[in-house]
Amino acid sequence: MVQLIRSLGAYGMREILSVGRMGIFFLYTMRGMFVAPGKFWPVVKHIEFIGTKSIFVIGFTAAFSGMVLGLQGYYTLSKFASEGLLGSAVALTLIRELGPVLTALMVSGRAGSAITAEIGIMRIEEQIDALDCMAIDPYAYMITPRFIACLIALPLLTAFCDVVGIFGGYAIGVDLLGVSAGAFWDGVYSSVVWKDVYMGIIKSAVFSVLIIWICTYKGFYSGVDEGSFGPEQVSRATTDAVVISSISILVSDYIITSIML
């Protein structure tokens, strides 16, 4: 019994400690923006990894979500003989919700997991300790460029996703199912307002912070809690990073929507 209570206490303390550690990790990363100059080139490299290489997978995701929205929307709206609203339905759904969320989920799966694994391996191979020994700030060297890169890349990818998705919906709705092109575009233009676009950008910025924060943190501290540094710890850190960042994307999406709507 005492053993049980003790293990519960230890668990609680570990969780609280890790929350505090995440906060300190974030502060150090922010400080990294100001300490060491010359981060331009690493940032470009990470934008290439997070952004440019994701563009195909985001394009596919967006095109098919837009197409399925067009299909589903058409069959629902045709019951009320209001297929003309298909454009607004597709555009609003994509810009407000699906664009930011799908992009963030794909990026956390594609780039976030890789970042966690990369940093985790640096940790278990004691490369981070080596950086410390050489008096190089590991936060400024490894984490901050990824942070900035993700913050730049994700909103751009989201905008790309929205546009591709709307054209996907257009292809199905207008070319395949015969909604009038004028009605489709009028729906898109008249229903989308600046606030929707703005909300999408805010969402994707928040998601990008969450993704990169959780993924770099999990990699950076992989194996530290267990006290042993092996491949197992890296794999667990990677799984944790993707699961936690996906869940926090969906939860924060609800919170942001309820605040901003």
Partner: protein, 158 residues
């Protein structure tokens, strides 16, 4: 990987992303940079159902939007922002209409014949309140629509 190629691909990515973002915000989101509109006022006895951002149209063509709606001396003062390239005569008539039967309310301006134009900040003097469809239907239900339009006393309800 070649450094030049990497820089190039990142540049293309950022350009594509910015192009999409610009398209979304300027074209779809109607984000206006700078002042390409001017404001005029119009006072209506009621605006029931008119909302801010509703379109302002002349002959069915959108020429601006409703900026703000305020209560003033028991009447509704509507501030309209009109595109700079549109000039309105000072005897133009603004009326609140409904697009379709259950559609949204918008403001329709019919041109006047005067030689003087409304200056920015000016007021449209001639306004017509919206057609109250609910009142119309209830009158129709009591069968007194014709008399009401002719201005005679409505028949007592049976």
């Amino acid at each position: 990987m070649d450094k030049k190629w990497l820089e190039f691909s990142v540049g293309v990515f950022i350009l594509v992303g910015l192009a999409c973002l610009t398209y979304l915000s300027v074209s779809l989101g109607h984000l206006r940079l700078g002042h390409s509109t001017y404001e005029i006022k119009a006072v209506f006895s009621t605006v029931s159902g008119l909302k801010a951002k509703a379109p302002v149209a002349m002959a069915g063509v959108t020429i601006g939007e409703v900026q703000d709606i305020k209560l003033r001396d028991g009447q509704a003062q509507v501030i309209l922002s009109i595109g700079n390239d549109i000039k309105l005569e000072d005897d133009s008539v603004a009326s609140i209409r409904t697009s379709g039967i259950i559609g949204d309310k918008y403001i329709s301006i019919s041109p006047g014949a005067s030689d003087n134009y409304i200056t920015p900040g000016g007021t449209i003097r001639e306004t017509r309140p919206p057609l109250d469809i609910e009142a119309l239907i209830s009158k129709f239900a009591f069968g007194s629509l014709d008399k009401e339009i002719k201005g005679t006393k409505p028949a007592p309800a049976e």
